[in-house]
Amino acid sequence: MALPPPDPQFVLRGTSAAIHTLHFSCGGQEPEIPVLFSGSENGFIHVWNLKTHRVDTALDGHGGKSVYCVETMGGKDRLLSQGRDQRICLWDLAEGRTAVTDSVFTEHVGFCRCSLVKVAQGRWLMATAAKGLEEVHVLELPSKTSVCTLKPEVGAKLGMPMCLKLWQLSCGSQPLLLAGYEDGSVVLWNVTMGKALSQLVCHQEPVMSLDFDSEKAKGISGSSEKVLRIWSLNEQQNLQVYKTQELVNAGISDITIRPDKKILATAGWDHRIRIFGWKKLKPLAVLDYHTATVHCVSFSDHRKPQERLLAAGSKDHRISVWAVYTHT
């Protein structure tokens, strides 16, 4: 007899705008407070204190334009945010400051979230969609030097890049980029050489979100259709379709795999969050709390497994925080 689906552990209210992006920063040692960053449609980034469940700080750096990506760069004092004002802002939040230290003008007018990967101490690579229709720029941060521009060949007709994932197999190896495009294909790029290694047509509709497990060389992508596609990367760096998972309702906004690679969560247009086992994509739970489409899901990076959380931000101005499968 299966248990009824769990309720959220708590719900964060108070953004008064739809939430588009979430990012946890809970890896610090005591007495550092675990925080959750959220970016909203009204341009604010809220820093939520996960002990008091209240907003500690509200950051306004995008001039009222929607913030659709927040990431931390090594701890909760350095924040990166991307907004629809075509800018990526770097923040310094140490000791109570709320200053924008730097910004990158991407001239990108779409919704493609940038992707960060740490290549060395204090050095990051960031991939972001750029002004050119099908291009992806890779920059080094914090120096803001351009590493390369990834342009599909003429006539490929991939459309805009919709979602990006930068990764390296291990520190020091070549960084690779997975990009999902408007025409439904996922392309694997070699960043150093600046050329595409493999392309796979995953969907008929634009790829809304993707995530990748570099250990198992398996990735998952979702779009506005009723399927999730799981694809794998073989030794020749070629993408192949591995599995297809049918969904009950169409439309996926976000997918994220938990850091321990055991489960994954999807944010759906049908207001529901779905949890699947990552190994075989076994459906595990359907979390039904929100009353409007769920825009983003994020897993926390707590050091202690029992404290791990899952957060979901939705158009109904609420962030639901859940504790699921924390015992594994």
């Binding site: 490929a156 290694l197 993408l239 599995k243 309702n249 055991k262 075989k280």
Partner: protein, 632 residues
């Protein structure tokens, strides 16, 4: 002929005379059937024979020249052969020039495409003759572009001219096109306008194909004119004419689709996918699953039985629907309402009748808010449902709106379509009569007037008879199709007369007798259908009379679509109005109509009109015979 082959000294002019006389008497096929192949062979390499052939044709007397030239053009297996046989005849001989450049192309249109290819290819092959080719093209374009030609000439002739234009274009070289680029552009613009104005889809498509071809030749770089139309055999054939197959082909076969890049464009173009893209070949993870123990087992799934498809509920009451359609910002609800509307209307006739006109108004102005599949059909079905549920007020509203200001042509034609569909539904017994629960209805029969009683009286009588008669054997009971009174009869007049009333009153934005002849054509066809469906109704005679008068005033209309509609009106009339009433009330008008029909059969340029007129005359004949056969 073998004499000629041997003896070179025969007088050529004598042979020409013989040839000419034979051709004029209609024996072209036989004599040229033998002559042309021999000459083709002989002239292939032998210059002397070429000269002989040229002298042969040049010496044919003027009055027989046409027949001979025509024969040659038709029989020659290719433009180059024709060139060898005729030489520069067209330049030297005035009559031949007239035949080739004017008569065959502009005045006749019965020749095949192969003949056109021969002729125009022949003109293109020699520099002396190319000037003629340009002149020919200009004249063809003039005809193609003239609006009176488009309106009055039969579609077959227009197809012929279009083919000729395309073949000419295919022969012209760049410098020649440069020199006449401006004229080409002007004639193309004018021609396209006239063609698109026409009510016949075939002519519109012809115009589009030719214009596209011309534009692609005069603008070799830069954006090219591209129309949207459905490809069919005709358009594909036309497009393939634009590219010439090399002259070494013995038989210039058309359309040579493989070479022609235009035909290739007509086929759905499959974009070449990236070489690196993989086709989805699912790698079955079978081997892996056995090896790895299922460590997912420690993740116990929760109960997911509540997880169902999201369905937006549509409103259940008609008044709620009205609210959603007029005010609501919720697009999901709006979509669900549009989809559910027809069903709701049909299930709640009483509620619909209360708000019928309002609902009709909303539906007429309803525009697509989100992208629903089949929106136009859904809206139309809902309109038909409203109209059939409450015919009189809604038809009054719709017919009055047909003649009002500020509606688009599309909306006016929608009104006509809805009226026709509703009339069909009302007059056809199949759609009617949902199974009524007889037991529940029976005791209430005396109280409910109207259609209920008329349906059940038969059943009551049957029951009574059944109970009172002793049956010895029940034979096989053939199920009679359920019949019900023609609901259209009471409302036919309401559908029909308001439509006919104001057709000659022009409004600022809508002039049936002027530019909007497409709508006039549709109106006439609609009236024909309504007339036909009104068979056996009370109003049919009055309708017939009004329709006859209407047809009479419009009978000389320029647009062939309208004329076709008028002729179908006459057919419907003859079929619907009972013969006795026809002869009693409308004798003079019928006689006048008969003479008009006779005229149409002989002189109308449009093939369909002639056919319809002939059918009408036959119908009239049949009627007369039927009446004469019945003893008075």
């Amino acid at each position: 002929l073998s004499l000629i082959a041997g003896g070179l000294d025969c007088s050529i002019s004598f042979v020409s005379h013989v040839l000419g006389k034979v051709c004029v008497h209609g024996r072209q096929k036989e004599i040229l059937g033998v002559l042309v192949p021999r000459l083709t062979e002989l002239t292939k390499s032998d210059c002397i024979w070429q000269r002989i052939c040229w002298r042969l044709v040049e010496c044919v007397p003027e009055r027989w020249m046409e027949a001979v030239v025509l024969g040659f053009v038709q029989r020659a297996p290719g433009a180059d052969v024709l060139s060898r046989l005729l030489g520069n005849l067209v330049v030297k001989n005035k009559k031949a020039q007239f035949v080739v450049t004017q008569k065959v192309l502009l005045l006749q249109y019965g020749h095949t495409t192969a003949v056109l290819q021969n002729l125009l290819g022949y003109l293109a092959l020699d520099s002396l003759r190319r000037a003629l080719l340009l002149r020919v093209l200009q004249e063809l374009l003039e005809t193609w572009g003239s609006s009176s030609a488009v309106k009055h000439s039969p579609p077959e002739q227009q197809l012929y001219i279009s083919k000729a234009i395309l073949i000419c274009l295919s022969h012209l070289k760049e410098p020649e096109i440069e020199s006449c680029r401006q004229e080409l552009l002007t004639s193309m613009m004018e021609g396209v306008k006239c063609h698109l104005d026409s009510s016949l889809p075939q002519l519109r498509r012809l115009g589009m194909v030719v214009a596209e071809s011309i534009s692609s030749r005069i603008n070799t770089e830069g954006p090219v004119l591209k129309f949207e139309y459905e490809e069919d055999d005709e358009t594909r054939e036309l497009k393939s004419l634009l590219v010439q197959t090399p002259p070494l082909c013995v038989v210039p076969s058309l359309p040579d689709d493989d070479r022609s890049e235009k035909a290739g464009a007509a086929l759905p173009s499959v974009p070449e996918s990236n070489k690196k893209s993989q086709t989805a070949a699912p790698v079955m993870p079978d081997e892996e699953s056995e090896a790895e123990l299922d460590s997912d087992d420690d993740l116990v799934p929760y109960d997911m039985s509540e997880d169902k498809e999201l369905k937006i509920k549509a409103p259940v009451y008609i008044r709620d629907c009205i609210e959603v359609l007029t005010g609501s910002e919720d697009v999901d609800k709006w979509e669900a309402t549009v989809k559910a509307l027809e069903g709701l209307i049909r299930r709640n006739p009483a509620a619909t009748r209360e708000v019928s006109v309002e609902l009709a108004k909303i539906l007429l102005h309803l525009e697509e808010k989100t992208c629903i599949e089949g929106f136009v059909e859904l809206r139309q079905r809902a309109q038909v449902a409203v109209l059939t549920t409450d015919p009189i007020p809604v038809s009054k509203y719709l017919t009055s709106q047909f003649y009002s200001l500020n509606y688009s042509l599309r909306q006016r034609m929608d009104i006509l379509d809805v009226l026709v569909l509703a009339a069909q539904e009302l007059s056809c017994p199949k759609f009617h009569g949902k199974p009524k629960h007889s037991d529940a209805q029976k005791p209430r029969i005396q109280l409910l007037p109207g259609s209920d009683s008329s349906k059940d009286w038969r059943r009551i009588v049957d029951e009574r008879i059944k109970s009172k008669t002793r049956r010895f054997a029940t034979g096989q009971c053939l199920m009679e199709p359920a019949s019900s009174p023609n609901q259209f009869s009471s409302v036919a007049g309401h559908f029909f007369f308001p439509l006919i009333q104001h057709f000659d009153r022009p409004l600022t934005t809508f002039d049936l007798l002027g530019e909007d002849h497409l709508v006039l054509g549709r109106l006439v066809h609609t009236l024909a259908v309504l007339m036909y469906l009104a068979v056996n109704t009370v109003a049919v005679t009055a309708m017939g009379k009004a329709l006859l008068e209407f047809v009479w005033t419009l009978r000389f209309h320029v647009d062939s679509y309208v004329r076709q509609g008028l002729l179908s009106c006459i057919s419907s009339l003859l079929l619907s109005v009972p013969a006795e009433l026809l002869l009693a009330d409308m004798t003079e008008e019928l006689l006048e109509t008969q003479s008009w029909l006779g005229d149409v059969v002989e002189k109308d340029p449009d093939g369909d009109c002639r056919r319809l007129a002939l059918q009408n005359l036959l119908l009239m004949e049949n009627l007369k015979k039927k009446l004469e056969a019945v003893p008075s």
